[in-house]
Symmetry: C2
């Protein structure tokens, strides 16, 4: 490639992650981000910026410059901008990246090697374990919330046995289940967008983990964006239409992901994969049953992880600008409480939801 | 240690595993067996033979010689010998080895490193995937059964959609879930016994996998031994009392494992582990709920994997001497069919079983 024609940018990794100087991190995370960008870029070039150069010693990635008007999706959601292709694009990214390492397209041999390599990204996995699955459920110096308004709500999270019982299961799955090479931090701040472009960035938390963690991160952060909208309404724009667009986007994201993921499964079912051998899964009824069971479990994992990601953004260490940018603390707390209560219900009762439409209805019920 | 005082034996690994020359295997499995013997021996020295020397280049393990009257447990079960301490010993081995790598006693950092290393044992994992979770459910040159008696039964296994649906879930768990450093082949041929000694050998299939695979392998093979007893009865010994002893041993194995595993959990709950932080799981009711949920899931995994291990021993490539030593083919087939039908039911309906006592009753119902 003729680099003189390329608009490039250098991403230089420092010792500290976004959480600040209390969280020194190995620069090795640059390596895991670089190889994940390359792997995911190979699988889904349309939605992952190209890596031109990686210098491990320098912890430096030379990659495509995402030119204006690309902005961070979260900022677009706060500004009330509709992205008509977002669901189409992000579902394409998730279906391609998550399905490829599913055993129906990849040989266990190469997968096991890759799993082994990504076990090296242990520090960032441990950070996630702490800030997502542990700190919000205990007294921690790192936790904060809109006080004093949510003091009782934060305490209620720490004292909810049923909630903590379910979180234990999700944490075990996060730590133990090497299902696919996941992005590991797929919230709306890890996606850059324009009206017709969607680019997934910052996979420094990538490892072999449960697929539902990626899908849940994205869906959960859209739900957070939804509950924050009332805080961004003004006399010129009550945000009602925009809230409807967010709900449609949540609905389309899951349904398109489901459609594309299962289509890739069908496409590869006679391929080199070993999980669902055509000689065993040899009749249409069985193939349907297997897919339905698999996607139902993935859906419930998605809701569980998505809810956990919502909770940690309200009573944990790192909050989201969707809420933080609401200046009236009392009003912000009302929005956050609605999101928190919904997330607690979703995490505890996720297995009762048959499909994404049920989730949309539940959000609407909470909100009206 | 003064080696002149030690009765030792050398285990030299060849290119082929028990399945014969159709299955060439890397000698590297000697390395995984050696480090697993050392690790499990460190955790449970009473029931794992000591390794004196390992030569990786030679694929040679110098280890304790298990002197007579030690014999392979499977042969003792065929001979109708009772081992009064078997359940006590094997439950101790399983509780100590499986709990130690559970996150409540081991730091994720070291666990991740170990998981990465054992990903190298990919060939033997793939062999298990094929012979346990795939071949019995499809037409395979390797499958065989007591023909023609079980021709219809073998075909029924290959055409049972519900069974294959459940096997897919177990195979995914086997491939994806790095829960503990498991033995990987804990059937009654991997245990040597005397009246008062129980020694676990041959962990060449060891890797980070689901705990239920080990517990299930042992329990499933005891159930096979039970269903084979009628084939070993003679006018002098109808084996009725011995069948009762096997059922008592199954019952005690699970109940003692449950008791010891949860006791180790309690012992380490304030320790260095990170899965169940005492600041989160901070009240007796919650601690009980978490343990009950965890052990219930482990019990159902155990029944599922145990049933899968039974099925593969009747219609798959490698059979067990318990049945093979029954010379009358028609009579052997009757015993095998009872075991196969029970295993199919157990695999499909495992979640309905509340405890091991339900399993014992179900075995007795089938049998009378």
């Amino acid at each position: 490639m003729d680099t003189s024609l390329i608009a490039g940018v250098c991403r230089l990794f420092h010792t500290y992650v976004a959480l600040g100087e209390s969280w020194p991190m190995t620069k090795e995370r640059a390596y895991f981000e670089a190889i994940t960008l390359k792997e995911h870029g190979h699988l889904c070039p349309a939605h992952v910026p190209e890596v031109y150069h990686f210098d491990r010693a320098m912890s430096l990635i030379g990659m495509r410059y995402l030119e204006p008007p690309h902005i961070i999706l979260r900022k677009g959601l706060i500004a009330g901008i509709e992205y008509p292709l977002l669901a189409e694009h992000i579902s394409e990214y998730m279906a391609r990246t998550l399905s490829s390492h599913h055993f129906f397209t990849v040989q266990p041999r190469s997968t096991k090697r890759a799993v082994a390599e990504f076990c090296g990204n242990v520090e960032l996995c441990r950070l996630t374990e702490q800030v997502v699955f542990s700190d919000p459920y205990k007294v921690s110096q790192y936790n904060h919330w809109t006080s004093p308004y949510l003091d009782g709500d934060a305490e209620a999270v720490r004292e909810d046995n049923t909630l903590k019982l379910e979180v234990a299961e999700l944490k075990s799955m996060f730590c133990e289940r090497a299902q696919a090479l996941i992005h590991g931090d797929l919230h709306t701040g890890s996606v850059m967008v324009t009206h017709d472009s969607t680019q997934v960035i910052d996979p420094e938390f990538a490892f072999y983990g449960p697929m539902g963690y990626d899908v849940g991160a994205f869906v959960g952060n859209l739900i957070l964006a939804f509950f924050a909208q009332d805080g961004h309404a003004d006399p010129q724009n009550d945000r009602k239409a925009y809230k409807d667009w967010i709900l449609r986007t949540i609905d389309e994201t899951w349904n398109l992901f489901h459609k594309k993921f299962t289509a890739l499964w069908d496409k590869h079912k006679d391929g080199s994969g070993e999980a669902y051998l055509p000689e065993i899964y040899n009749n249409p009824q069985l193939q349907l049953l297997v897919k339905q069971k698999y996607m139902k479990d993935l859906f419930h994992d998605t809701l569980g992880f998505g809810a956990a990601k919502m909770i940690r953004r309200i009573v944990g260490v790192a909050h989201v600008e969707d809420f933080e940018s609401i200046t009236d603390a009392g009003y912000r707390a009302d929005c956050e409480r609605r999101a928190l209560d919904f997330a607690k219900m979703l995490l505890k009762e996720r297995r009762k939801f048959q499909g994404i439409a049920d989730v949309i209805s539940a959000i609407q019920k909470v909100h009206t």
